[in-house]
């Protein structure tokens, strides 16, 4: 027990988030659910960057928000720093929120257009009343602006006067203001230009090293995830299909979905699409009616009859590498590569 | 002009006349597309790549925008000389465009079939029944599953990938000679993106079209473009072969872009950052627009803007580094 608390900052046990689908007017038929997150188990180690990749509908954003209790989980437990926070009320969560923050994707919607930068950055401190004098507040804001590469003479400007990259820096400064231990980064660079992305990625990595942060990095961009993460989780339709250290997962992917994902990335100076490339057929199924058995079997190039009615278990294939695939559990690791 | 050239843009200049001043959004844009080839246009937001496409289609919102000068030769004829009526016959018919956001580009209250029909009935004068048959044929061509069923469905009933196929179907309905794709896969998942890019490539060969692919994704360009032009601040800064540009980028901006993209072997090192910011096109500029951010900047770069110079047979670059004056 003591070992876990020291090692893992956040533990999610069988987290589920099901959104009820609105019934038609007469309320006929059984209640359907969008199974956004359908049984996720992860342990995030202190000081690590855990990347989560997946395509739309895989539930990665929902998972990030659920872990922060911005969305109430339908089932499962969340343990933060040894404390079970699943059933805590908003009032009791104050301490947790002090330590767990979030950075959003959209630099335009994540800042209140009617507030000046200093108020935006200081807001978490205002809410949690974590300073005593105005001077303290102001000097903390300036410190954060400098850390995030923002010019302090713009301290009383409005968000619309900044570029996308600068707004994202404001968002990061805001997330850092309470000195949190854990930050969920929900696609923080996806909405930015390529040349700006590198600046923000560098900033995040610098800040993580400086403040010894634990990051949950959600993205659909595999190259960015590869660059910044220590370990990577691959999600599909609300479930985790593969988990491993970054190098391992990119060099030796096991799950057919992970392989397909990696193959689909257009590479600079890489393979030529003009030669017919095996791409994944079909579209992602709806999370309201996920396929039975293994949810990937409808598109899986190596699916067998069994896959449509047996749900795969998440197994350890050695080298801290976990996969959720029946064919892996049926064969020896060596034969299945 | 070559018989093989489908589109030739010469010194295109598009301005926006705003309260704050004149924004010179496109300046001295010249390039060509041959028959049957894919030209990639790469750049970041605000560089003018979408505006170039809109200018060719003469869809620039006027006011405040205006194509101030230049020539756009399509199949030998200058499009800028054509009347509005004549342009309407060309749009959707000979030149077609696929946009980035399939949800906002499709009319949510009309069925998919109706929207594809429209182009056929307007440009080809087909009857309702004939248009329906051709539409289903086209849906099959874009690999839409269950085309007869989809014909009667509405955009919101389809996934992002399927909607983009509908957009492509609409664009290809009249067998255009030039297909302009403005960030067609940016809003799509990676696996769907691969399908759509393959589809565009296959259809290009089948229908004997040329494709103008606008994107900020260097990987996409690398995979499917025959030739590439790089745009920065409303100007073309480099023009090259699809392969050479990545093996040996000429313009410092291209070089910087390639360096700042995370790749497999840059793990956990600091990524390259281009210092400075994109220039405000409202301000008056002296010298090369990339100079303030350029590693190689010399005095002469700040005096006058460089011209697009020929580097080799099929490569052009707008940079003094490759001019005679550089070594002086």
């Amino acid at each position: 027990m003591g070992n876990n608390k020291d090692r893992y900052l956040l533990e999610a046990q069988d987290i589920k988030k099901w959104f009820p689908v609105k019934k038609d007017y007469f309320g006929k038929g059984e209640q359907k659910y969008v199974k956004a997150v359908d049984g996720v188990n992860i342990k995030i180690e202190k000081g690590e960057t855990l990347g989560i990749v997946g395509e739309s509908g895989c539930g990665k954003s929902t998972l990030g928000r659920t872990l922060l209790k911005l969305i109430e989980p339908t089932a499962g437990k969340i343990i933060f720093n040894g404390e079970d926070i699943t059933d805590l009320s908003e009032k009791d969560l104050k301490n947790f929120r002090h330590n767990a923050q979030i950075i959003f994707q959209d630099p335009y919607a994540s800042l209140n257009p009617r507030m000046v930068v200093s108020d935006i950055i200081a807001e978490p401190m205002d809410i949690q009343k974590s300073y005593t004098t105005k001077k303290e507040r102001l000097s903390r804001v300036i410190e954060l602006m400098e850390v995030c590469g923002l010019n302090k003479t713009y301290i009383n400007r409005y968000p619309h006067e900044f570029s996308g990259g600068q707004r994202q820096r404001i968002g990061i400064a805001r997330a850092l203001s309470l000195n949190p231990k854990f930050i969920v980064c929900d696609e923080p660079v996806s909405a930015l230009d390529v040349s700006i992305q590198s600046q923000i990625i560098n900033l995040l990595m610098g800040v993580q090293a400086e403040y010894d942060l634990t990051l949950l990095f959600i993205s659909h961009d595999l190259s960015v995830v590869n660059h910044i993460s220590d370990r990577v989780v691959v999600m599909y339709l609300g479930k985790i299909v593969e988990l491993a250290e970054t190098n391992e997962i990119f060099e030796k992917p096991i799950h057919p979905y992970t392989k397909a994902l990696l193959q689909s990335i257009p590479i600079i100076g890489g393979k030529n699409l003009k030669k017919s490339k095996p791409t994944l057929e079909g579209d992602i199924p709806s999370p309201v009616d996920p396929p039975s058995g293994c949810s990937f079997h409808t598109r899986c190039p190596i699916a067998e009859k069994e896959c449509s009615y047996v749900e795969p278990k998440f197994i350890d294939v050695g080298n801290k590498h976990f996969v959720s695939c029946i064919k892996v559990s049926n064969y020896n690791l060596g034969l299945n590569k | 002009m070559d018989d093989n050239t489908l589109l030739k843009v010469e010194n295109l200049r598009t301005n926006f006349f705003l309260d704050e001043g004149v924004l010179k959004a496109l300046e001295d844009v010249s390039f060509y597309i041959n028959k049957g080839e894919t030209l990639g246009i790469v750049g970041e937001s605000g560089c003018g790549k979408s505006l170039t496409a809109l200018s060719i289609m003469r869809l620039v919102q006027s006011p405040p925008g205006k194509i101030v000068s230049g020539k756009i030769y399509f199949e030998g004829v200058d499009l800028l000389q054509k009347s509005k009526c004549e342009m309407r016959k060309i749009r959707g018919n000979k030149i077609a465009m696929v946009f980035q956001e399939p949800m906002t580009s499709l009319n949510p209250v009309l069925t998919v079939g109706f929207q594809i029909n429209e182009t056929l009935r307007i440009h080809r004068g087909l009857s309702k029944q004939q248009a329906k048959e051709k539409t289903i044929e086209i849906l099959k061509m874009v690999e839409m599953p269950l085309p007869e069923q989809r014909y009667n469905e509405y955009p919101h009933q389809l996934s992002g990938g399927m909607r983009q196929r509908v957009m492509i179907a609409m664009a290809l309905a009249c067998n255009p000679s030039l297909l302009i794709c403005d960030e067609p896969t940016t809003a799509l998942d990676v696996t769907v993106q691969a399908q759509i890019l393959n589809l565009i490539n296959d259809l290009k060969k089948k229908l004997d079209m040329s494709v103008m692919m606008i994107t900020h994704d260097l990987g996409v360009i690398s995979e499917i473009a025959d030739r590439v032009i790089i745009m920065y601040a409303g100007r073309i800064v480099e023009e090259s072969d699809g392969k050479d540009i990545f093996l040996k980028p000429l313009h410092p901006y291209t070089e910087a872009l390639l360096k700042s993209v995370p790749k497999i072997n840059t793990k956990n090192e600091k990524l390259y950052m281009i210092k400075g910011m994109v220039p405000d096109l409202l301000d008056k500029h002296k010298g090369c627009l990339f100079a303030p951010r350029c590693e190689y900047c010399k005095d002469l770069c700040l005096k006058e803007e460089p011209c697009l110079l020929s580097y080799s047979n099929n490569r052009k670059v707008r940079c003094y580094k490759y001019s005679k004056e550089w070594e002086v």
Partner: protein, 305 residues
């Protein structure tokens, strides 16, 4: 920056910390003001409204006669050198009565709308923010109040509270909040999804704090426009009520009441009803034009630049 911040700014702290901050020249309102200035019709309307307020405040000094001074020998006169706009059926100077009548019209606009705004914002934000059962109940309330026949309600209020101008305020305010509530509710539902609201929640912001600090300031533009466009309606409503004898009671002058009285004397003094009618029309037109101008100037499309 907000005016309060500029006024009460503690410059010392900025000096101590060595910041030379450049105050923003483009806040939402300063941009909107620049845009509004270009709209000539709206600016003209603004001038007229300001003039009207001026007239209402300084009526005592501007008005040539007392509005209640009767001169039965000179009743129902047309415009003359002594009485610029003529006299009414009791010999009172019409111009003076119009001047004092502006007080009634403007105060109806301000007070009634204030009541409506307070109720409307509270209801709209509660319904939009909390959703669920709260939204359900408030929406029913909105529908009930909105469908209620207004005149009936006004009569009921008069019956209970007696006639008089305060009751006009109450009647108009208590019925008039529904449009505002509906619109605010719609806006709040949209705003709720914005990420900066989630960010506030991520720092443990209470619902009330989120509503006051984040939601309402972002609804203000809409509220301003709606209020400006409602004022003319309120003025007309007061005119109608006074016309029906349910509003302002004599001898207090009100434009609607003047029109009411002038009905009987149309043939003898055709100009009697003309001038109060023009006054109403001019006021209503000005508010409508200003409201349209404000809506264009505060256009949210441009907020996201």
């Amino acid at each position: 920056m907000k005016i309060t911040d500029i006024l009460f700014r503690n410059n010392k702290i900025y000096e101590e910390l060595g910041i030379d901050d450049k105050l923003s020249s483009t806040g939402l309102y300063s941009d909107a003001w620049k845009r509004l200035k270009k709209n000539k019709a709206a600016m003209l309307s603004l001038v007229i409204i300001i003039a009207l307020v001026f007239v209402a405040i300084f009526a005592d000094f501007i008005s040539p006669y007392s509005p209640e001074e009767q001169d039965l020998r000179n009743k129902l006169q047309g415009p003359s050198s002594e009485h610029l706009l003529g006299t009414d059926h009791l010999g009172r100077d019409i111009l003076s009565r119009i001047i004092y009548g502006s007080r009634v019209s403007l105060s109806v606009g301000i007070v009634a709308e204030s009541i409506a705004v307070v109720i409307g914002i509270i209801m709209g934000t509660m319904a939009g923010f909390y959703g669920g059962k709260v939204d359900y109940l408030i929406s029913i309330l909105i529908e009930v109040f909105a469908s209620f026949p207004f005149i009936l309600f006004a009569i009921a209020v008069m019956f209970v509270l007696g006639p008089g101008i305060t009751n006009v305020f109450i009647a108009i305010g208590v019925i008039g909040w529904t449009t505002l509530a509906r619109t605010v509710r719609g806006q709040v539902i949209q705003l709720k999804e914005k990420e900066y609201i989630e960010a506030a929640k991520a720092s443990s912001s209470s619902s009330i704090r989120t509503i006051i600090k984040h939601i309402i300031p972002n609804c203000l533009s809409t509220i301003i426009v709606i209020v400006t466009l409602h004022i003319p309606g309120d003025i007309m409503t007061e005119a109608t009520l006074s016309f029906l004898g349910l509003g302002v009671q004599p001898p207090m002058p009100s434009w609607g009441e003047m029109i009411n009285n002038s009905r009987k004397f149309m043939r003898q003094a055709p100009t009697y009803s003309l001038f109060p009618g023009i006054a109403i029309m001019l006021t209503v037109l000005s508010f409508n034009t200003l409201g349209d101008g404000l809506r264009d100037a505060l256009d949210p499309r441009l907020k996201n630049l």
